[in-house]
Symmetry: C4
Subunit: 212 residues, 4 copies
Amino acid sequence: MATDDYRPDTRRLAALSDGVFAIAITILVLSIDLPSGSDAGPVTVEMVAREWRDAVSYVLSFLVVGNFWTEHRHVFDHATHHTRDVEWLNILFLMAIAFLPFPTSLLGDYGGLVPVVFYAAVMTTTGLLLYALWWVVARNEAFFEEELAPERVRYDRLRFLLYPSVFGVSIPVALFVSLDLVYVCWGSLFVLTPLLQRRLLADGGETLPGGR
Amino acid sequence: MATDDYRPDTRRLAALSDGVFAIAITILVLSIDLPSGSDAGPVTVEMVAREWRDAVSYVLSFLVVGNFWTEHRHVFDHATHHTRDVEWLNILFLMAIAFLPFPTSLLGDYGGLVPVVFYAAVMTTTGLLLYALWWVVARNEAFFEEELAPERVRYDRLRFLLYPSVFGVSIPVALFVSLDLVYVCWGSLFVLTPLLQRRLLADGGETLPGGR
Amino acid sequence: MATDDYRPDTRRLAALSDGVFAIAITILVLSIDLPSGSDAGPVTVEMVAREWRDAVSYVLSFLVVGNFWTEHRHVFDHATHHTRDVEWLNILFLMAIAFLPFPTSLLGDYGGLVPVVFYAAVMTTTGLLLYALWWVVARNEAFFEEELAPERVRYDRLRFLLYPSVFGVSIPVALFVSLDLVYVCWGSLFVLTPLLQRRLLADGGETLPGGR
Amino acid sequence: MATDDYRPDTRRLAALSDGVFAIAITILVLSIDLPSGSDAGPVTVEMVAREWRDAVSYVLSFLVVGNFWTEHRHVFDHATHHTRDVEWLNILFLMAIAFLPFPTSLLGDYGGLVPVVFYAAVMTTTGLLLYALWWVVARNEAFFEEELAPERVRYDRLRFLLYPSVFGVSIPVALFVSLDLVYVCWGSLFVLTPLLQRRLLADGGETLPGGR
């Protein structure tokens, strides 16, 4: 569109995003409760261990957000400018990231069907917003200083769909199959991510112009 | 004024501002309460749904702050230097931004006339501070490397007045007309903002020097 | 010292400091309590107004920290490198800044002699640390690309001593004279700061090399 | 590995890390409780003094994290690019940093054997992760624009092992010797760190290429 010349550079957008990422992952720790019954004697190992569910959801959310961060950086690695659409899509994505401490607390404090499904639904939405962000940026050639190769785009699509797909699939698994299997689904991400990346490397998907 | 040569560049000012924005929008999530009555059995859908008011005020505040952020960035996009006045006006503006989690909590937890009016008053003040910041920067030619066109300034004025006007108008609406209409007022912002921007584009208001 | 070549540039030091400043001023808002007695009917104007003491200490701390931020930036404006001493002094200073939400909460929630003296003592310490930081940086010519004029150093000394002096003097005032007078002392800062700066401008203290 | 050309620059990695560091050290203050029994009269000196344990663990954690920050910056000072391994190791390290407010709260609120050992164990782990990060970056010549001297690497190894060693040794000390001695161990860090750095300087360990 010839009249839309609004293309600020991406530095402050990256700064705001890094800030929200950093804060969201750091306040996750506030969701871990201090042992209760503390006035009634010294803290025991059992009292700390009882917080294991909080610890698991802390680690899980931290790693998932860590992954979203690397992917978000990937989106803006080559893009030097952006449009208003990208800006607002990014704000929606950050709204989802900033919201994550809530489902993490819910999952860590209570567990059970509703918190698991709610957590998976929020993660699926967040992943889809990031996918949309990538798609809007990637298809817009004007953002880039050099062209993206078609294979590169194909690989990236797979990569950005991995997280929302796995979290999306885990919702019916939770509802109709088993809650334990959900954790297997989510854990599989930490096996699938490096596998997919190794595959990309082997195929040369990451040796394209721009070095990434 | 010839003797006032204090014109530090705007990078650390932008860094502090982005930090405050990022933290203010991220700690908004702390205003969403965990479901109560949690020890008495599993979490139900109703218990999560009961937090809808918190969720609405979270989304509303996030989008409004997101808008303030894009506008704030707009103010400093072309300005490469600033003065002490700008610095202190910016600190006052950040004080208002950092304060927003409080009225958001109040609105989300209680609703009712006082929280609604209080929220609208805080947002009006925040918007007026941003307008003042824009005005002080825009009229000061020394901040810019290239001159701003008069039409550009006229459009910007409209844009920076939109938020404080709508929130300001919503105060008498809340007091004398109806609380439900207030939400319509506020929601109208998310229709008016893109409309105004489209209009600006059509008129060429954004194709002025500087590309924004 | 010829063997100490450790002079990293100041960018990440500034980034960490801006982060701590931004977070410290933003979590000040968490010290403002939501109105209590909320389940017993709608929120009234009186319930919000009862939080005035919290609001006053929020505004006071925000403006004082805002001033510390502008002064901190001033310290590192011309310094392009730093040493380990500067690094650790800066970490001590940031420790004081990060601590401020605690005395602010104490002052806002309780008031009275002990919180007032404690608040003044913390602010005095913070101001003295900043003064020490300025002094270590300013006397070390190697940090600067251009020499600092002696008058400039003299003016800066006054400026950096203003805050710790006023807060230091307010301690005996609180103990031996009157608590109300303390607030007058503190409020005087917001009159003295612009006066001092105007004086500096008139004397040309800010037109020295470097433009600040 | 010839096919792995993924070497983004380290700026956003540094920005995210500085953000997490800044937030983690700033929310440490939230672990200091307000005096209780506040409604029953004015705040007394004893009520503030009773929080000394919180204050000690605040200062200790702040200084340890401050040290981790200077070391983390040291790791990336010369490295201009990084790989996926470095990225994920850094995310694990940040997870440990972001977690520190929890053991700090536990130590400050309760004290006793379990919190002391838990605190030491978390600090040991964090230190080892930073050591691993340093090791992965330092052995990879491709990250650097100029080669690192072998003596430099030897000195750095000592330096990065200091913190995990002292915290690691304090665990059996706590379990089998005495809890008081643990605090002596930890306090020794603030004597050993400057001594070690002086030694390095005397040996010229810091005058190697790169000026650090």
